[in-house]
């Protein structure tokens, strides 16, 4: 079963990488508000059903994939095609 984990810098956490990207976009002539840079992690997880997959991925997030002090996560589970 495929899961997509979106990891973002938490609200209020300074994101120097996002600021650098924002500055470059402005130099290219784009008008942008803020830019935040996160990460997408695709996980193919062996699970009984979508709930089981979500529960497993939540544990993966708390044990390794994200640092809850500085990052927020959003998990999407899609059935394997």
């Amino acid at each position: 079963m495929k899961a997509v984990v979106l990891v973002r810098p938490k609200d209020g956490i300074l994101d120097p990488q996002g600021e650098a990207v924002q500055g470059s976009l402005e130099k290219l002539g784009f008008e942008v508000g803020s830019v935040r840079v996160g990460r997408v992690i695709d996980v193919d997880v062996t699970a009984r059903d979508a709930d089981d997959a979500r529960a497993q991925v939540e544990r993966m997030c708390s044990e390794l994939l994200a640092n809850p002090l500085i990052e927020s996560v959003q998990i999407q589970v899609e059935p394997a095609s």
Binding site: I13, L14, P16, A20, L64, N67, L69, I70
Partner: protein, 231 residues
């Protein structure tokens, strides 16, 4: 003649200051032993553990994240919980935060540039195991070399950590955007410390400073004390 206390220096794939740390610990009177990350146990008679600087696992995911769950870390956590002294330097500091042995996290430098130079750090708490050879407010000159050295904690944690004296070292100037200019912290029990500056690169006046030797010699003292208590 007293025996040299054993200090385990953990080697992760991508560690690059392991040999410097071992050399410096030897110069400070310790018996350094390199320990591969895949080991499940520390060597017998380990009196202290050092997690060295470098780019463990290529800094994949987050610096120190994958090292934080390496097999050897179970043994390091058990050693720390039993009161054993543990020092994390740079990537080792990041690893100790990721392993939740230390409060906070290390974020990319505010200026998004790698900093590599000597900095002055002030000793905020001279009564920890690691700073016993320093004076209060003493300024140490120790080099830094990192891209992810901005220590961060939420406000509640920061206030608590500061009130408990867990902030051990602060930069004398803003080096990387670190909250409160924090350069090094200790855990609540006082036996686990992490710092971004590299004391192992400052143990000989020939290289510009010997101030790092104060911290490493204190660690060797702590290793001897720990082995004495354990015996």
């Amino acid at each position: 003649m007293t025996e040299r206390p054993r200090v385990a220096v953990v080697v992760f794939p991508g560690s690059n200051d392991d040999h410097d740390a071992a050399w410096a610990l030897g110069a400070m009177g310790g018996d350094p032993v390199l320990v591969w990350h895949a080991e499940h146990q520390l060597p017998p008679d380990t009196g202290a553990v050092v997690l060295p600087g470098g780019f463990s696992y290529g800094d994949y995911l987050r610096p120190g994240a994958i090292a934080g769950v390496a097999p050897v870390m179970t043994a390091v956590c058990a050693f720390a919980q039993a009161g054993g002294p543990v020092l994390g330097i740079c990537n080792g500091f990041q690893t100790l935060c990721e392993a939740r042995l230390l409060p906070g996290a290390l974020r990319p430098n505010r200026q998004l540039e790698f900093v590599c130079r000597d900095v002055r750090v002030k000793v905020e708490n001279p009564s920890t195991l690691f700073t016993r050879r320093c004076e209060e407010a003493q300024q140490l000159v120790i080099p830094v070399k990192h891209g992810d050295g901005a220590w961060y904690a939420d406000e509640g944690t920061f206030v608590q950590v500061a009130a408990r004296g867990q902030i051990v070292l602060r930069y004398a100037e803003d080096v990387n955007g670190s909250l409160g200019n924090v350069a090094g912290v200790v855990n609540e029990a006082g036996n686990v410390m992490g710092l971004m500056p590299h004391p192992e690169h400052a143990v000989d006046p020939l290289l510009g400073s010997a101030d790092g030797g104060l911290l490493l010699a204190a660690l060797v003292d702590a290793a001897a004390d720990h082995l004495r208590v354990a015996a």
